[in-house]
Symmetry: C7
Subunit: 96 residues, 7 copies
């Protein structure tokens, strides 16, 4: 499979099909004005660049099961699988 390395403070996520009740019991209510989505982290970037030149490592890790805000991401397909490139700031929480 082609390898993908996100740049800077970006994260690649494999989104779960929407509204599937997952083992963690997450169901996204239709009423929610801005439906968050669930997915698995595939790859993380080098981290956010601060004003002083330091890089801050990304808080989530490969394999983490995450809840994220859908509107910020960019979709693409790799070997016929759908992925999303998100900013770290689009990720709301880690579920375990």
């Amino acid at each position: 499979m082609a390898k993908i390395r996100p740049v800077g403070d970006r994260v690649v996520v494999k989104p779960l099909p929407k509204e599937e009740v997952t083992k963690s019991g997450i169901v996204i209510p239709d009423t929610a004005k801005e439906k968050p989505q669930e997915g698995t982290v595939i790859a993380v970037g080098s981290g956010r660049l601060l004003d002083n030149g330091d890089r801050v490592p990304i808080e989530v890790r490969e394999g983490d099961h995450v809840l994220f805000a859908k509107y910020g991401g960019t979709e693409f397909k790799l070997d016929n699988e759908e992925y999303l490139v998100l900013k770290e700031s689009d990720i709301l929480a880690v579920l375990s």
Copy 2:
């Protein structure tokens, strides 16, 4: 129950049903242009990242009874319960 860890300066809150007169006597006037809500803090993130790379711990704690601005949050359900992921800056005050 699935565990949820908010990322960065985010907070997960269990909102109280709206307009319930709570033991703290909080009633949200309908007239208020931007109805704040009440709820209990379920989990807090690692804190806000400053320009110099330091993390500032979140000012509210798990179990705190808080007043927050509704518009900023993202709703989701976990084990059939409704939760909100908010930014720390959406939380207005702690009630005790």
Copy 3:
């Protein structure tokens, strides 16, 4: 009475009924495009967080009689009394 602790650079104010001529003689002209209001400070937050992580104490104190810009606040009722949560930057001046 329930206690209320504003978060960060917020302030809780007990607004005076509008247009009452107060002992300080403040009358808010209707013509003013953005009618400021008067009120008394009930509680102040921990202060504004600076980029370097320091907290700057709030400039006004509990009991101060203040003039503030109405548009920024969030209204709520506590034990049937009306209060406003404001940002420190919404407070224009202290009257004495």
Copy 4:
């Protein structure tokens, strides 16, 4: 007379009636898209708060005769006199 202490980088000004030709000869042309106004500084705040926590004293003083951009101010009456609360950045120049 009630005392008024502006907060932070604010200034209280006693505006001169518009278009009066003042001793300094200032006449505000109607054509000017954004008519500046003239007035006298009544009180100045503690100054602008910098990122490093220092306060920078306000550049104008009580009694200064100033030219200011009207759009930013908030009007109010004190003992039947009209005043304006402005940000320091609304003040364009000092006239002498």
Copy 5:
């Protein structure tokens, strides 16, 4: 003549009547979407305030012949002469 001292990073300019072909040969094409103007610097402020509290002196001097973007300025008349208060950042270039 009344003296005028601009505040902070502001500059007072005596604008040249528009489209006059000046000794420097500057003609402002009508086609230009944002017609710059020419004028002479009358007075400069104390300079721009940086985050660290330092003041940076204004780059142009009294008497400089300058090209500036008109949209940012505020017009006023002093002793029947028309002047403009500009921000330093509205000044494009010095002509000599």
Copy 6:
């Protein structure tokens, strides 16, 4: 061939014809609201200038195969070939 050196935090990319299934298997779904594109890095600028005056080298290199957000770029032709000048922040990921 004319040489091109991007300025600051810019990158010149030779875009791949859209929707070509590439050896890396990237296919950009039409449904994606903001179709990312693929291309090869031709030249990189001196890097992003930080507040403290340091330059941070660009994270991608000449020859890298990248996924980027199309909307930010500026198209131009050089010796009849089409190129794009992008900001480093428009580049989402490196594919290998």
Copy 7:
């Protein structure tokens, strides 16, 4: 000829007539939503002022052949020749 010294992080450019195929082979496709232009650098300002008060010299030099985004510039004529005052950030690349 009148001398022109751009202020701060500005650059004066002599634009090439549009769509001329230049020796460097640059042709600007009509399709490009934001047609970049070519031109020669005539003069550069003192450079960009950083938060710490340092000036960063402009990256391009007098005589450089540059590609720039047209929308940001301000047109003017000097001795019947057309020039543009641009911000350094409007310059995309140097061609040689």
